[in-house]
C-alpha cells in the first residue's frame, strides 16, 4: 500500500530570518510546489512552544514528514530531536542570511537562495523513511580473542569482568606470548625504580579460574565469516579437531615477531654466540634467576656488557625497520639492571642515539638506571668483532666526536618488533594488478576471513593494523574486529595492557550495538542501512570493491550480499553503483538527486548561474557553517547539499546537474592518501577516482572541464571553503553560462 506523504514544513522567523527573508513566500513554496500538507511560521521555533507545536502535529498524525527551515542541522540539535519521523533541516540561517550582506541589492538573490533550499528540503523529505534495522543478528555476548599473549589475556580478563564470555585461541602450547618469556618487566608503578614481575603467572592463573573464559591452545582460526553479532568461526587444533562457534565480536591480539637479527651482518650476530638479542638475554636472565648471568659461548660470568640500541631499526637501510619499536630503550635499562642488581661492579653501557623513556615512569626509571651506575653513551655502533674470545665493539662517540673501541663479554642488540598482521591484502591486490609472476613468501592468514576483500585486516603502514590512529585509535577497517597490542602499533606491556582493555571496551560495544542494529563508529547509533534493488543490479562489483570496510560480500552469481552490522553507513556503495540501485531509508540517490532537481534554474537571460556544492557533512559542511558564524560572504548562486561522505557521491548527480542547467559543480571532501582525514577511510579517495572518469562525460556534453571541481577541504578551511565557491562563480563568469538552460 502506497504511503500517503504528509509533509509539515516549519519556518523559523527568529535570528533575523523573519526580517531578512519573506517567510510568507517560503510558506507558499512549501505548500505549493513543495507539496507540504501544512506549513507554519514561528518567531522562535527552537523554543519550547515552537517545538511543542511540531510535536503535537506529529502526535496527532497531521504529518509524517518533517521539514524544519531554520538554522543549520548542526545547531539546536537537542531541541529539534524527532527520532520517530523522517526529517530534514533547511539551513536558512548559516546557509543563507549569515553569508549574504543585508543590502537591497542582495535581497532578491538571498530570497531565491532560501526559496530553493525550502524546495530542496520539501523534496528530499518525500523520499525519506524512518530507518528500520534488519535485525539480522541477535545479541551475542561471546567475544573471541585471537592470541593468548599479554594483550590477549588482558582483553579476555577485562571483558569477563564486565560480564561477557570469552574464548582465547592461542597457537602455541601455553599462554603468555612474548611476555611469558621475560624475566621481569619494566616497572608500571611508582617509584619506577626496579624491574617488576611480569604478572604472566598471575594472569594465567586468573584465566584458569575464570568460568567465563575458555582457552584453546595449539589452535588457529581457520575460517571466519559473518558480521558483528554473528561471526561464525572455525577453531582448529593441531590435533586435527575443529570446532565451530559463534561470536559477537573479535579482538585480534596476534602480537609481534622479533626482527631477525641474522640480517645484521655488521654486528656479527650470526657468527658470534655472545652477540644476542634482548629476547635472548631474557632467557639467560631467567636461567640465572637473580644470580650471575653467564654468556652463551663458554658459560663465563658476564663482567662487561654493551647494549646496542636501534639495531636494525630507525634506519632507511634495506631490510631494516624504519620505525622505532618504542619499548627497547626501557628494556635495555631494565636488562642492564639485571646485571647491576646482581653485581654493581659489572660494566654496563647502553649505546644510543636518542634515549626514549617518555612519561612519568620512563624518566624515573632512566634516572634509577643512572643511579645504579649504568653508563649511557650517545653514539652509533659501527662493527662488532671477535677479539680472542671477547667482543670488540667499535663505535662512534657522538659527544666526543671520535671513534672508540670497547672490549666486552656480551653484546645485546635492541632489535625491533614486526607486527603479526597476517596477509597484506592490499599487496595481494597490487600483485594481481601488476600480473606479477613473482612468488612472494606465503604469509599465513590470522583470521581467515571469508570476506570478498581478503582474509585479514587491511594494514596502514609498516605492516601494522591501524587506521584513524589519532582521534579514534580503535577504528580498524573491519567492523567488529579490533586490533590490540603490538599488532596495531609498536608498544610495551604497559601500553599493551591499556590497549587490550580499550579494545575490549570496543568489542563489547560492538556486540551491544550489533544486537540493536545500530551502526558502529563514526555514525554510532545510526539505524539506517543500505538495501539494493536486485533486479537492477548488473553484478559489476563496484560496491564490493569500493566499500572501505569490507562490509559487502558477493554471492555465487556476483550479486552483493550486505551485512548490516559490518556496514558503517557511509554510502560509498551508493556512490559507486553505476545503475543506482543502492539506497538507505533516509539517504539515497533520490534524496540527493531530487534535491538537485528541485532547484529552480533561471533562464539564461537572467544571468544568474547555479552552482551545486556537494559537501562532506563531517568537515566541509561544518567549515561553511563556521564561515557563516563569522559572516564570511560567498556567492548567492550556490546550492549546498551535505553528503554523508563524499564517497557517497554518485556521478549521476553531476551529469544530472549539468544536464538540467547548473553551470558548475563543486565537490568538497576530506584529505585522502596515507594521512587521510576521511572518517570513512577511502570515501574521499573513491570520489576522486570516480571523478577522474567524469571528463569523458563532460566532453560528450560539450562542456568545459572547469565546470566540475573537486577539492580536499578541512574543517578549519573556514575562509578557504567559501573562497572555493567564489572561485567557481568567477570561473563561470569567465567561461559563460551553461548552454543547457531551458
Amino acid at each position: 500500500m502506497a504511503e500517503v506523504i504528509k509533509t509539515g514544513t516549519y519556518i523559523c522567523k527568529g535570528c533575523d530570518l523573519g526580517h531578512r527573508l519573506d517567510t510568507d513566500q517560503l510558506e507558499n513554496i512549501a505548500t505549493g510546489e513543495g507539496g507540504a500538507v501544512l506549513a507554519k511560521q514561528h518567531d522562535f521555533l527552537c523554543s519550547q512552544v515552537g517545538v511543542e507545536m511540531i510535536r503535537e502535529d506529529i502526535d496527532k498524525g497531521e504529518i509524517n514528514r518533517l521539514v524544519i527551515a531554520a538554522c543549520s542541522r548542526r545547531a539546536k540539535t537537542e531541541a529539534f530531536r524527532f527520532d520517530d519521523i523522517a526529517m530534514t533541516r533547511v539551513n536558512l540561517r548559516e546557509g543563507v542570511i549569515w553569508i549574504r550582506p543585508e543590502t537591497d541589492e542582495a535581497k532578491e538573490t538571498t530570497q531565491e537562495m532560501a526559496n530553493d533550499y525550502v524546495r530542496m528540503g520539501c523534496t528530499e523529505v518525500k523520499f525519506m523513511h524512518t530507518p528500520d534495522p534488519s535485525h539480522e543478528q541477535t545479541l551475542n555476548k561471546h567475544i573471541l580473542v585471537v592470541g593468548g599473549g599479554y594483550t590477549g589475556m588482558t582483553s579476555a580478563l577485562e571483558s569477563s569482568k564486565a560480564g561477557y564470555l570469552v574464548t582465547i585461541v592461542e597457537k602455541s602450547d601455553s599462554l603468555g606470548g612474548t611476555a611469558g618469556k621475560l624475566h621481569k618487566k619494566v616497572p608500571t608503578h611508582s617509584p619506577y625504580r626496579d624491574p617488576e614481575d611480569t604478572g604472566v603467572t598471575e594472569l594465567t592463573a586468573l584465566i584458569a579460574a575464570d568460568p567465563n573464559i575458555t582457552v584453546h591452545l595449539q589452535s588457529k582460526i581457520t575460517n571466519t565469516e559473518g558480521a558483528p553479532g554473528r561471526f561464525t568461526v572455525s577453531i582448529s587444533a593441531e590435533s586435527g579437531n575443529t570446532i565451530n562457534e559463534t561470536f559477537g565480536s573479535i579482538i585480534q591480539a596476534s602480537g609481534f615477531t622479533a626482527y631477525d637479527a641474522n640480517q645484521l651482518t655488521e654486528f656479527a650476530y650470526t657468527d658470534n654466540a655472545d652477540v644476542i638479542t634482548q629476547l635472548e638475554l631474557e632467557a639467560l636472565a631467567k636461567e640465572a634467576s637473580g644470580g650471575a648471568i653467564k654468556r652463551p659461548s663458554d658459560g663465563k660470568e658476564v663482567e662487561r656488557v654493551i647494549f646496542v640500541q636501534c639495531a636494525g631499526q630507525r634506519s632507511q637501510k634495506e631490510g631494516h625497520l624504519s620505525y622505532c619499536s618504542g619499548f627497547c630503550c626501557n628494556t635495555s635499562i631494565k636488562q642492564a639492571m639485571y646485571f647491576k642488581d646482581s653485581n654493581p661492579d659489572i660494566y654496563t653501557n647502553v649505546i644510543y642515539t636518542d634515549l626514549r623513556t617518555p612519561g612519568a615512569g620512563g624518566e624515573d626509571f632512566y634516572r634509577s638506571g643512572q643511579d645504579k651506575g649504568i653508563t649511557f653513551t650517545k653514539g652509533t655502533v659501527n662493527t662488532i668483532a671477535n677479539n680472542n674470545g671477547n667482543l670488540s665493539v667499535n663505535y662512534k662517540d657522538i659527544i666526543l666526536d671520535e671513534d672508540s673501541t670497547l672490549d666486552v663479554d656480551l653484546v645485546v642488540l635492541a632489535t625491533g618488533m614486526i607486527a603479526n598482521s597476517g596477509v597484506n591484502i592490499d599487496a595481494v591486490k597490487e600483485d594481481e594488478d601488476a600480473d606479477s609472476t613473482e612468488v612472494a613468501v606465503p604469509v599465513e592468514s590470522i583470521l581467515n576471513l571469508q570476506y570478498r576483500q581478503g582474509p585479514d585486516m587491511p594494514q596502514l603502514v609498516n605492516g601494522f593494523v591501524d587506521s584513524h590512529f589519532i582521534c579514534f585509535p580503535y577504528e580498524t577497517r573491519r567492523t567488529g574486529i579490533y586490533a590490540a597490542g603490538p599488532v596495531r602499533r609498536p608498544m610495551d606491556t604497559k601500553q599493551a595492557a591499556d590497549d587490550a582493555t580499550g579494545a575490549a571496551m570496543k568489542a563489547i560495544q560492538a556486540v551491544e550495538n550489533a544486537g540493536k542494529g545500530r551502526a558502529a563508529h563514526p555514525r554510532s547509533g545510526d539505524l539506517s542501512f543500505p538495501s539494493f534493488r536486485k533486479e537492477g543490479c548488473t553484478q559489476c562489483k563496484r560496491c564490493t570493491v569500493e566499500c572501505p570496510f569490507g562490509a559487502i560480500n558477493e554471492d555465487e552469481k556476483g550479486y552483493p550480499q550486505y551485512n548490516e552490522s559490518r556496514c558503517r553507513r557511509c554510502g560509498t556503495c551508493m556512490g559507486a553503483c553505476p545503475v543506482r540501485v543502492i539506497s538507505f531509508e533516509n539517504y539515497s540517490i533520490d534524496t540527493v538527486g531530487q534535491q538537485i532537481k528541485a532547484v529552480e534554474i533561471p533562464e539564461e537571460s537572467e544571468e544568474k548561474p547555479r552552482i551545486l556544492v556537494l559537501a562532506c557533512e563531517n568537515d566541509a559542511y561544518p567549515a561553511l557553517d563556521m564561515a557563516a558564524l563569522n559572516r564570511v560572504e560567498y556567492s548567492p548562486y550556490v546550492r549546498v547539499v551535505p553528503v554523508r561522505c563524499l564517497g557517497s557521491m554518485n556521478t549521476i548527480f553531476i551529469t544530472d546537474a549539468l544536464n538540467s542547467g547548473y553551470d558548475g559543480v563543486v565537490m568538497m571532501g576530506c584529505k585522502k592518501g596515507v594521512d587521510y582525514q576521511c572518517h570513512f577511510v577511502k570515501g574521499s579517495e573513491m570520489a576522486h577516482y570516480r571523478l577522474s572518469k567524469v571528463a569523458d562525460t563532460l566532453q560528450t556534453l560539450n562542456l568545459e572541464e572547469e565546470r566540475v571541481a573537486v577539492h580536499e577541504v578541512a574543517i578549519t578551511d573556514i575562509k578557504r571553503a567559501p573562497q572555493l565557491i567564489d572561485d567557481m562563480a568567477k570561473t563561470i563568469e569567465e567561461i559563460g553560462l551553461s548552454p543547457f538552460k531551458f
Binding site: G14, C15, D16, F44, S47, E78, E158, A162, G163, T188, H189, P191, Y192, S322, Y323, D354, R356, T357, P358, G359, A360, G361, E363, D364, K378, I398, L400, V461, I470, C471, F472, P473, R489, P490, M491, A497, A500, T501, G502, A504, M505, K506, I508, Q509, N513, H521, P522, S524, G525, N618, D619, P622, L629, N630, D675, H679, A714, I715, T716, I718
Partner: protein, 428 residues
C-alpha cells in the same frame, strides 16, 4: 540543571577534554548512563586550542566535530559545563559527588545569534588564546564551541554591559540572576579525566619568558597559527609585530629537570617537530627552524615523521640544553647561549623568536586533590586498587599524546562499565 538524574549505575566523568569525552562516549554508546562534567563553558579541552595534530598534520576540530555529533545524538549522555567536583564520598558502586556549577548567565534558549556579543563593550583577556588577545564580556569561546551557546563573563554582571546584553537578546536567553549551584550526583564509578596544563614557563628563569617579549610557549605558538586566533594565523613577534621567520624551539622546557618537572612530558618533541612544519608552511624556503634538544623522542611510528623533518635542510637540530637566553635590545632577538654537546661547541645564537616546548603538568594540584586517590611523585594518578571505582583517564594518569590518551580513556571506560555492570547484576 537540578533535573539531572543519576543512580549508582551512572558513570560520572570528570573533565570534558578529548579523554573525558572519549570515555563518556564509549560508555554511553555501550548503553550506560553517563554524566560528563566540564569546568570550562565548552567541551573539547585543550586539543581545541591546537592548530594541528602530529604526525598527520590534521586538525583537531575534525575529530572533535565527530565527537560532538556523537554527543548530540546520544541520549544516554548528559553534559554539564562550568561544573567542578568539590568532593566525592562513598565507595565503589555507591558514590556521591558534590558538583559546583558556576553560572553561565545564558540558558538553553540561546540560539548563538550573537546579538549579546554585539551589544556589549568591555573586553577581557582571552584565556582561549592564552591571553594573547581580548574578547568581549559576552562571547562564544571559539568557532566550534559546544554547547553552541554564548557565555557572559561574570565580571560584567552588575555593570551596564550585562543589561545591554540582556536587552539585546530577543529569546529571553540571558538570566542575570543565575547563581552558583551545588548538586549532588550519585554514581557507581568515576572517571577522572582532568587533563593537563602547560608548565609555567616563567619559573624557568634562565629562559626569561617573563622578561623577553620574543620568548613564547609552544601552546601560544599553536594559537598564532589559527586563522581566527590572536594574530590572524600569522607568526608575529610580540615585541614589534613583525613576522618571525627564524625560530628556535627549546625542548624539555621544564621537563626532565629536577628543578621543575621530573618527568618527560612525551609530547613536546613531536610538537616541536610539527611546529617546525608550521614555519615552513608559512614561509616556504625563507622559514628556518632550530631545535635544541636532549633526545628526540619520536617514539614508534612517529619516527617516520622525525625522519621527514630531518630531511628538511631548513630545520637544524642542536643537541644542547640551552643555558640561558638574553635579549639583544637593538633587534629584539633572543640570543641563546649554550654548548652543542655533539663535539662540545660553544654557541651564542640569535633567533627572531623562541618557542619553549613547555612540559605537561597535571591540571589538579596534588596537594589539594578533591578526591582521595593514589598519586605518584609527578602528580599523576596511579592505577591502584585503593582507588576503588575511581579511574584516571588520559593525561590525569600520565603525560600522554592524544592517541594514547584516547586509548587510555577507552580502557578507563571499560573499567567503569565493569563496576556499573557489577552493580546492575547485584541489583537484579
Amino acid at each position: 540543571m537540578s533535573d539531572v538524574v543519576a543512580t549508582n549505575q551512572t558513570i560520572l566523568v570528570v573533565g570534558g577534554g578529548i579523554s573525558g569525552m572519549t570515555a563518556a562516549l564509549e560508555a554511553a554508546e555501550t548503553g550506560k548512563q553517563v554524566i560528563l562534567i566540564e569546568k570550562r563553558p565548552f567541551i573539547g579541552g585543550r586539543v581545541t586550542q591546537l592548530y594541528k595534530y602530529f604526525p598527520k598534520l590534521c586538525h583537531p576540530t575534525c575529530g572533535m566535530e565527530i565527537n560532538q555529533r556523537r554527543a548530540k545524538a546520544n541520549t544516554n549522555l548528559t553534559i554539564l559545563t562550568l561544573a567542578e567536583v568539590s568532593d566525592i564520598s562513598g565507595t565503589e558502586g555507591d558514590y556521591t559527588a558534590t558538583i559546583k556549577m558556576q553560572p553561565r548567565y545564558v540558558n538553553d534558549n540561546c540560539t548563538a545569534c550573537g546579538a549579546c556579543n554585539e551589544a556589549v563593550e568591555t573586553e577581557f583577556d582571552n584565556d582561549f588564546n592564552y591571553n594573547m588577545d581580548k574578547r568581549k564580556g559576552a562571547y562564544l569561546p571559539y568557532n566550534n564551541a559546544y554547547p553552541q551557546q554564548f557565555v557572559l563573563d561574570s565580571r560584567i554582571i552588575g555593570t551596564d554591559d550585562a543589561d545591554k546584553a540582556k536587552a539585546a537578546c530577543k529569546y529571553d536567553a540571558i538570566d542575570l540572576d543565575m547563581q552558583e549551584e551545588t548538586l549532588e550526583i550519585k554514581a557507581g564509578a568515576v572517571i577522572w579525566a582532568t587533563g593537563w596544563q602547560p608548565f609555567d614557563a616563567a619559573k624557568i628563569q634562565p629562559y626569561g619568558y617573563d622578561r623577553i617579549d620574543n620568548v613564547i610557549t609552544s601552546v601560544e605558538f599553536e594559537r598564532m597559527m589559527d586563522p581566527f586566533g590572536p594574530t590572524g594565523g600569522k607568526i608575529l613577534r610580540p615585541s614589534d609585530g613583525k613576522e618571525a621567520k627564524d625560530i628556535a624551539f627549546i625542548q624539555c622546557a621544564g621537563s626532565r629537570d629536577r628543578n621543575y618537572l621530573r618527568h618527560c612530558s612525551r609530547i613536546c618533541c613531536m610538537a616541536s617537530l610539527k611546529q617546525s612544519t608550521y614555519v615552513r608552511e608559512k614561509y616556504a624556503d625563507e622559514g628556518k627552524a632550530s631545535i635544541y634538544y636532549i633526545d628526540i623522542r619520536a617514539i614508534d611510528r612517529f619516527e617516520d615523521f622525525y625522519q621527514k623533518v630531518q630531511d628538511d635542510d631548513n630545520v637544524t637540530f642542536i643537541k644542547s640544553k640551552v643555558a640561558n637566553i638574553v635579549e639583544d635590545k637593538k633587534t629584539g632577538n633572543p640570543v641563546l647561549n649554550g654548548v652543542n654537546t655533539e663535539g662540545y661547541h660553544r654557541y651564542s645564537n640569535p633567533h627572531e623568536l623562541v618557542v619553549l616546548a613547555v612540559g605537561m603538568e597535571p591540571s589538579v594540584d596534588k596537594d589539594i586533590f578533591p578526591v582521595e586517590i593514589v598519586l605518584n611523585n609527578n602528580g599523576f594518578i596511579e592505577a591502584d586498587n585503593k582507588n576503588g571505582g575511581i579511574f584516571a583517564a588520559g593525561c590525569a594518569s600520565d603525560a600522554l599524546d592524544v592517541n594514547r590518551a584516547v586509548q587510555n580513556a577507552t580502557a578507563s571506560a571499560l573499567r567503569a562499565v565493569q563496576v556499573v555492570n557489577r552493580v546492575a547484576r547485584a541489583e537484579d
